[in-house]
Structure formats: C-alpha cells, structure tokens
C-alpha cells in the first residue's frame, strides 16, 4: 500500500552550492505527484533526497525532515539502505544490470539482500514483470536473455519491474520516459496509472503534457525553490504564481 511523504524545510547542497531551499510539501498516498521545472531547478535532487540517494554523491549535504509513512528518513540511526528498500527508484536512462539475465535483474533487489526462497522468487518476478507490462514479451527467455539485450522501452519497464519486486511503498521516477520513443512512453504512462492503486508515485518530468496526463498533483520548482504546489488541473489552468504561468505557457525555461 502506498504511504504519504511529508517534506519539511528540506535543504540540499553540492559542496558550497545550495541546490534546494526550504522545500516543504506533503505528497498524498496512492496518487501520482509530478515535479516540473526547467533544467537545473533541483527536481532530480529533490526526489533523490527522498530516498537518500543524494548523499551517495561526493561532497553533498542535506538538512531538514522527510517522513515516508511513519519512517523518519533522516532520523538518527536509520540506515539509508533500509529506507531505500521502502522507496523504489526508476532513473532517467534505463539501467539494467548488464551482466544479469532478465530474471536476475528483477530478482536482484531481493536476492542480494539475502532472500533465498526460490519458489517465492519465481512468483515475485512474474508478478513484478506483469505489473510492469513486460511479462508477455519476455516470459520465454527470462533466464536466457540479458537485461541489456532488450530495447530501450523494454529496459525501462524492466527497471520498473526491478523496483517493484522489493515491494516499496513509494515509487520515485526521475524522467522515466525522456529517453523513450512515443509508443514506449505511452506504455510507461499507462503503467503509472495502474501503479497508483498500489503505490505513491513521485515523477519528475520535463514534459508538461505528461505531468497533466498522469499526475493529480504537480509541484513547480525554480532555482531550487518550490514555487507552487497544487492540484495538477489548477497548476495548468489557473496557477496562483506568475512564474508558474510563465513557465507553463512557455515564456521561459
């Protein structure tokens, strides 16, 4: 089941450079929330702070509070590894593990964390691939074919299946369709629609039509600040902020 995400006074730095300024927003469970804004506005940094991926880069720093359900993400003594098991992440470029078969790619998160029940694993792999709408295309060569040999769109759905296999509560998607052709993009968007029933989804996108199509809520970021956060419909029809309006009508960015 999806859980809500509460963000309070979140700041993030790369070295001396502050990438996020006092972000406060609450993300509704079992809905899709889109994050839009021009390049370099901190969208990716923001969602990477939600599962503590930001701190894996050298010379980075975060302050503020993030709660995912009842987990305090930046609480004392909460290991980052533990949090990432509750928060799936799909990246901009499909990144299957190149030396692993399709099956092992999906099973990786469980297997490498010590899950050993082979029958259960088979079920989870099938269920995850079905949820990612990839099962029918790959079911005959699960263990024979490398994940890297699939097409770009299939690879991205494989990565989604891989993220779903660890049964996260929240799914973060960092421009998941920006490297895909329109047909694959359509498939990924359909998927987001279905996944909302079970997961809370935060999706970063450059594509405003995409945000309008898949997300109930939209946040507009500019220069590391959350300018406006509201129902998607409102953001795209009558935004309260001039800067939001300028951006969505294409006057800058």
């Amino acid at each position: 089941m999806g859980v809500g995400v509460e963000v309070r006074d979140l700041n993030a730095w790369f070295g001396q450079n502050q990438a996020l300024h006092d972000i406060t927003m609450s993300i509704a469970p079992n809905h899709a929330t889109a994050i839009i804004g021009p390049s370099g506005c901190g969208k990716s940094t923001f969602i990477r702070c939600l599962n503590r991926m930001h701190e894996t880069l050298p010379d980075t720093r975060v302050s503020g509070q993030v709660r995912i359900g009842d987990i305090n993400v930046y609480g004392n003594g909460t290991p980052a590894v533990q949090i990432r098991r509750h928060v799936g992440m799909v990246f901009q470029k499909p990144n299957p593990f190149p030396t692993m078969s399709i099956y092992d790619n999906v099973a990786a998160g469980l297997k490498l964390n010590g899950f050993r029940n082979a029958r259960r694993l088979d079920e989870i792999v099938e269920r995850s691939l079905r949820m990612a709408a990839l099962w029918d295309e790959v079911k005959d060569q699960l263990k024979k074919q490398s994940g890297a040999s699939l097409s770009g769109g299939q690879q991205q759905r494989l990565c989604i299946a891989r993220a779903l296999a660890v049964e996260p509560n929240v799914l973060l998607m960092d421009e998941p369709a920006s490297a895909l052709d329109p047909i694959s993009t359509g498939k990924v968007e359909d998927l987001i629609f279905q996944l909302k029933e079970k997961y809370t989804i935060v999706i970063v996108t450059h594509n405003m039509q995409q945000a309008a199509r898949v997300a109930e809520f939209t946040g507009f970021f500019l220069l590391g600040r959350l300018i406006e956060f509201d129902k998607t419909e409102k953001i795209f029809t009558k935004p309260s902020e001039k800067r939001t309006e300028d951006y969505i009508t294409g006057r800058f960015g």
């Binding site: 599962n51 050298p58 799936g88 030396t99 998160g109």
Partner: protein, 285 residues
Amino acid sequence: MSQDRISWARTVKDHLATACAVLAILLVLLPLAAIFLYLMQRGLSSINWAFLTQTPKPVGEVGGGMGNAIAGSGVILAIASLIGVPVGIGAGVFLAEYGRNRFGNAIRFTADVLNGVPSIVIGIVAYGLVVFRQKHFSALAGGVALSIMMIPTISRATEEMLLLVPLSVREAALGLGISRWRTTVSITLRTAAAGIITGIMLAFARVAGETAPLLFTAFGNQYWNWKLDQPTAALPLQIFAYAISPYDEWHRQAWAGALVLIVLIVSVVAIVRIVASRGLLKGTN
C-alpha cells in the same frame, strides 16, 4: 562532380586507414609468430614423454627432462596467484570505490613505481622477507616474489575496469537498498569481470616467464619437490641454467623448455578465458 571527388577521396582514406590497421596487427603478430616458429623448430624434437615427466640427468647422460621444473613452476605460480589476485583486486576495489583522495593517489603512485621496479630487486625483497627468515630457499619465497609483481598490474586493471562501470549501474543497485559492499561485489565487480580477468591474465603471463625474481627465492632444484618450504625447480630457472651451459644436449632441452613454457602460458590464458566467458552471461556488450 565535386561530390564524387569527395566520396572518392573518402574511399581512399577509408582503405588507407584499414590497411594501416591491418599492417599494425601484422607487426604485432609477427614477432610472436617468429618466436613460436623458431622455438618449434629448435625445441619440438626434444619434447617427449620423458622430457615432460622426468628430472634432469647428470651432465653427460642423454635424456632426462624438466618434469620437476614444470611442476615447480605450477606450484610457484599457484602461490603467486593465490596471494596476488585477491590482494590486487582488493587494492583495485579500494582505489576505485574509496580512493578519490590523496591517500588513494599515494597508493596509485606507489603501485606505478612498484610496476617499474626491476624484477631482480623484487627477488631481493622476497629473499629478505621470506628466505632470510626461513633460512632456506623455497617455493613459497618464489611465489611471494612473483605475487609482488602481479599486484600492481592487477590492481590498476581492476581499478580501470571498475571505473568504466557506469554510475547509473551503481545507482540502480543502491536505489534497490543493496548495501555498498554488496553492490561492489555482486554488481560492479561482476559487470567489470571480463576486463579484470584480462588484467589478471596479463599479470599471470608476465610473471610466468620471470627468471630473475626466482634466482634467490625458489632457487631451483634438480629433483622432485612438493614441499612449499624447500628449494623448488622452475621452468625459467631451468631454461636459464641450461641455456648458459656448454652442453649441446642441455641447449636442446632449454629450447624445448622455452616451448613448453609458452604453450603452458597460452593454454592457461585460453582455458581461463573460456571458463570465464561460460560463467558470465553472453551478449552483454
């Protein structure tokens, strides 16, 4: 018209570049082929079952062989690999994953210097470390000397190959909640395995033919010896001793020994490659 001329010029350049590449390949292969053919010519006639299984005969007696030296080389190289491969890979992992700082740079520089240290000097170091304490020459000392030579090559190869693994692959693993250590072992190292194996094979092939570091470590032995703490024969040592001797029979055996050494190195490298490519999933590149 001018379009045609441009494409004509491009075709010529294309063929020229291809020809240069082919020429370079030939230049690389030529010395190898020449050495191999010459060794076949001089050594093949002396290779027989006795040569591969017997110990050397005293001067003046015909026959005998390098069986003990072949076995000794195998033992010494096994020791060298057992020490050199894990340490080399470990150092390479450290440099790639945690070595983006001055400490890492210092290690990197040290490894490069170590790579350039003359092999005879490494023999002396192993003499001081092992032989001097044990009070006698041994296969172990020879293995230690060769392992020291393997480590910098393997660690640099491991580091380079790990750095070629895209950040996105690491992030995929971290994003799944896999710990950094597991990510390195099961994802990054596995992705880079083919390249690392090539590095290990280069290091192995290089030390397999080394003579100088064995002179006062393994020392050589005219008889069979399976004890790791006793002087042990090795193919390069035997070839060296026979080649500088005044006897025709020994010269012939030295040629045969050199041929066996090359064939063994090529076989080990080939077998490891085949086994490794079976183990890893195909069609990854």
